[in-house]
């Protein structure tokens, strides 16, 4: 199944949790904030949220700024 993450189409297997997906992208779940279909996902939901076909995911994090 397919989801969109940060504008890119990603192929995932069914029952993929958000936590697993973030780790698979080689990212640290503790420093990434996620928005799924426009809803901010709390850190403690990363493990229980199962991604669905067509989900639009935004992964955001802090960068240098003034």
């Amino acid at each position: 199944m397919k989801i969109t993450c940060n504008g890119e189409t990603k192929e995932i297997t069914p029952n993929t949790s958000l936590e697993y997906f973030i780790r698979k992208m080689e990212l640290n779940p503790d420093t990434v904030v996620a928005e799924c279909d426009g809803r901010i996902i709390k850190r403690d939901e990363y493990n229980t949220l199962v991604l669905q076909e067509g989900n639009v995911l935004e992964l955001i994090r802090f960068v240098g700024g003034g």
Partner: protein
């Protein structure tokens, strides 16, 4: 000591973390600045560069994070970024920045006031970045802003405190701390802002693009301390007429030659 909301700060220099050439330079510059509050921005992760994580460098225990809403063009976008920042675990402090015009990056006063109102009600500690407008500063203070951050000059210009006259009025009227933000290009600019009574300054570009950013961070730290001490000491009055510093008496031995 400086107090904003419920936090006290020994250093009156806040540091922006953008545009540093390396993570190592950034880390050393923060240390050299003595700053206890640093700003960060929020951006989409580059999936092709997952290891590029500023949080590997910055210690959340040591510094108060002040996420900005840079990139927001209106109140709605700023509120969305604020909520994302809070979800990212940075706490509830926020530098509110609403800049619809990419050419000048000047802040939109109406959207800034609107967003301040909403975010304060939602429990954020809001430090709005504003043009040096004394009336707007009062309106934001009434809306619950924890401090106001008038610009010295547009972001990243290093033009200095070209808004001095208006910033002086803001300082005179404010009941909340005034942090001069943006445009300060040299330590003397920061010292001037502190001499006229600013509570703190926020500096980024002048330090990050300096030949030696670490040394420049230390220079700004000294300037901020010097400016603050001068303000506390009370500057002497200015006069258009000369007034001799040396005694005018006891010159007979010259006159009698």
């Amino acid at each position: 000591m400086l107090k904003i909301a419920d936090r006290t700060f020994r250093s009156r220099l806040f540091l922006g973390t953008g545009k540093f050439s390396s993570a190592d330079t950034l880390k050393k510059a923060i240390q050299a600045s003595g700053s206890e509050m640093i700003t960060v921005a929020l951006r989409r992760v580059d999936l092709n560069d997952p290891a590029d994580d500023i949080m590997n460098v910055l210690d959340r225990e040591k510094y108060l994070f002040l996420p900005n809403t840079s990139g927001a063009r209106d109140a709605k976008e700023a509120v969305r970024l604020a909520k994302l920042a809070r979800a990212a675990g940075s706490g509830n402090w926020l530098k509110l920045e609403v800049t619809p015009d990419p050419r000048t990056l000047l802040p939109d006063p109406i959207e800034t006031l609107k967003a301040t109102d909403e975010l304060v009600k939602d429990g954020f500690i809001v430090l709005p970045y504003i043009n040096a407008d004394p009336i707007l500063a009062l309106r934001l203070q009434d809306a619950g802003a924890a401090a106001v951050m008038p610009l010295g000059a547009p972001i990243g210009t290093n033009l200095g405190l070209i808004t001095k006259f208006q910033v002086e009025i803001i300082i005179e009227q404010a009941r909340v701390p005034v942090v001069v933000d943006a445009g300060l290009g040299s330590p003397s600019d920061a010292a001037l802002a502190m001499e006229i009574g600013a509570d703190a300054v926020l500096v980024n570009t002048a330090i990050s693009i300096a030949g030696d950013p670490v040394k420049m961070a230390a220079a700004f730290a000294m300037a901020v301390e010097a400016g603050r001490s001068a303000y506390e000491a009370g500057l002497g009055r200015k006069s258009s007429e000369a007034s001799a510093s040396s005694p005018l008496t006891g010159l007979d031995f010259i006159e009698n030659v």
